[in-house]
Symmetry: C2
Subunit: 404 residues, 2 copies
Amino acid sequence: MAEEKPSTVVTCTAPVNIAVVKYWGKRDEELILPINSSLSVTLHQDQLKTTTTAAISRDFKEDRLWLNGKEDDIGHPRLQSCLREIRRLARKRRGGNGDSGSGDHPPLSLAYKVHIASENNFPTAAGLASSAAGYACLVYTLAKLYGVEGELSEVARQGSGSACRSMFGGFVQWIVGESADGKDSVALQVAPETHWPELRVLILVVSAEKKPVGSTAGMQTSVKTSLLLKHRAEAVVPERMEQMIQHIQERDFEAFAELTMKDSNQFHATCMDTFPPIFYLNDVSKQVIALVHRFNAHYGKAKVAYTFDAGPNAVLFALEDTVDDLVEVVKRSFPPENNGGQFLKGLPVHKASLSDELLTAVVRDPVPGAIRYLLLTKPGPGPMMVEDASSHLLGADGLPQSSP
Amino acid sequence: MAEEKPSTVVTCTAPVNIAVVKYWGKRDEELILPINSSLSVTLHQDQLKTTTTAAISRDFKEDRLWLNGKEDDIGHPRLQSCLREIRRLARKRRGGNGDSGSGDHPPLSLAYKVHIASENNFPTAAGLASSAAGYACLVYTLAKLYGVEGELSEVARQGSGSACRSMFGGFVQWIVGESADGKDSVALQVAPETHWPELRVLILVVSAEKKPVGSTAGMQTSVKTSLLLKHRAEAVVPERMEQMIQHIQERDFEAFAELTMKDSNQFHATCMDTFPPIFYLNDVSKQVIALVHRFNAHYGKAKVAYTFDAGPNAVLFALEDTVDDLVEVVKRSFPPENNGGQFLKGLPVHKASLSDELLTAVVRDPVPGAIRYLLLTKPGPGPMMVEDASSHLLGADGLPQSSP
């Protein structure tokens, strides 16, 4: 096994993912071990990604972190877990002599301090689960920096549970695992992003007034109080994982769509069964759900699926040939308010002319301004290293570059 | 066993009930057999009741029905089930000779036609489960008319499942039963209304725009599609029934309140787990839930409980000494809009002066007009016969009296 020469500065990008079999609840808070397996679709980085630069130098006085250009606390326990774990793997890889600065790598002591800068190409406030992309990117970048290879999803998992699924492109399962140390609670790719080229993902960013209950606290309360969550984890999810993998392998959109919707609903049902109950869906979310069911009922089959994480934003799945119609229906149901911003972002959409029949059946009581914007994307690849030096977020001085 | 002389005209009243362990789902649609036991509190007829008059006469040409003064279809299958069942029991009681008009009852042939008039002392549209009171009253009145005694909850159940619980006052369980013919799926009184004199019930009638999915159709879809409902019925409710009975017997308000809220939440969780999902709670319902949790958190214990049936109206439980404060908090959170109607109906409430501490902790973002009115009531007795002839809803001609 040849040792690579670790770089002194590395920049990588990592994707967001959206679960279609939901993760909700930890059996171990420290190691972030889940109570059930989950499965997600990795979204394309052309639309949503985190970029992270990490650098080490003998000149750095302390470990430092910048998020979206602002210095932040690097002492966060979960971030420290990831950093510690990557350094441990690097030490192990170098046969335990990494700290002595011996042999091939005199300037790259593991004792040197690290500077990390990270930013998203989408607003953090949009509620698009930025922590998964953030921790996946952090772990991937540090691994490249320290020359660590192999199973990294287990490390990312310790930053943010769902981050382990952002370590791969396409369709990814996170295996619940059995062992107490979490070594078998890892992410595996079910199929690459090229497997289902027609699949599209439309994100509806809802204008929400309030910040909902955070997922870490929410999960804890659910695990403690919801009898239905326990049943879901033990008796429902194992079978759903098998079914979902099969639907993806067979590219069976209708079956994929129906199970995706059912699993989103069941996750929100366990939130409501939590005490005190947690509500992530607001009236606009419910209007989107009703719209999708009317759309599908009109065609007599599931042509669109919705899924919601711990917030009111909707993520819709549809095949390429349905997207133009779907976007038009959404626009008519939630007419954009003229606030100067672009309403439709991401992949291009063609103007659709809808039949009166479809409009009558599907569009009801339009709610202007209820949706801030739409983002069209598709399944995409996992984390990657950026070779172009001009992309580094840290300059030669180890401090954030001013944005280009 | 002396036979009573059946009257030719009888008027009775029956109460509404509100479930604290919820019934949702039938195992037999025809006989109305539930998938789990349930438990309810019978509300006082001084505030909410149905009145029914039934008369038989050789002069009547056909069976006829009037609801709230308007003639309605007596051919409804469930109403016919009740009528047929009571006539069958009457025939059995008379040793099979009822139809021949023999012996003691020459004028009261079971072949004579019946006229039935029924009305509520509350608006049907208020979503206050009028069918339970309605069918309980129908069955009780017909039984008095035909001189039938004994177990009648099984007959009322065949009109509307929860009607069987309105056949008793106080605290009532409906046993799920095991037999295929439903003979053991009956209501039993857990404790009479005098058992817990301090208990109060505050109904918040929410201004809803839309008629939600009806409970008959909703239940059918839930039974077909919700895995969580199946688990609830099999594994959760049996234990909750035992717990709830114990809390009531011990008059343990905190435990009663917490279990009541949890069970309401779980029922709505199973509705959300239904496919397509069913949402009965709207944003106002959720605001009421949040308000109750803040109220309880302020006192460090459950002083108020909420429960919601298949609609957005909230039913709150509290002890007498909490009611004045609770009403004031609700009024400040949902300031009445001046629409000419009375905002607080039912039992009297005293003006409360709330501490600033309580107000700051509990009242947030008031929503004027979100609640149409409040109705304060308490547990009450079961169905009863009205002796006063002036209360009959049918005149000597067998037709509805004009309202007094």
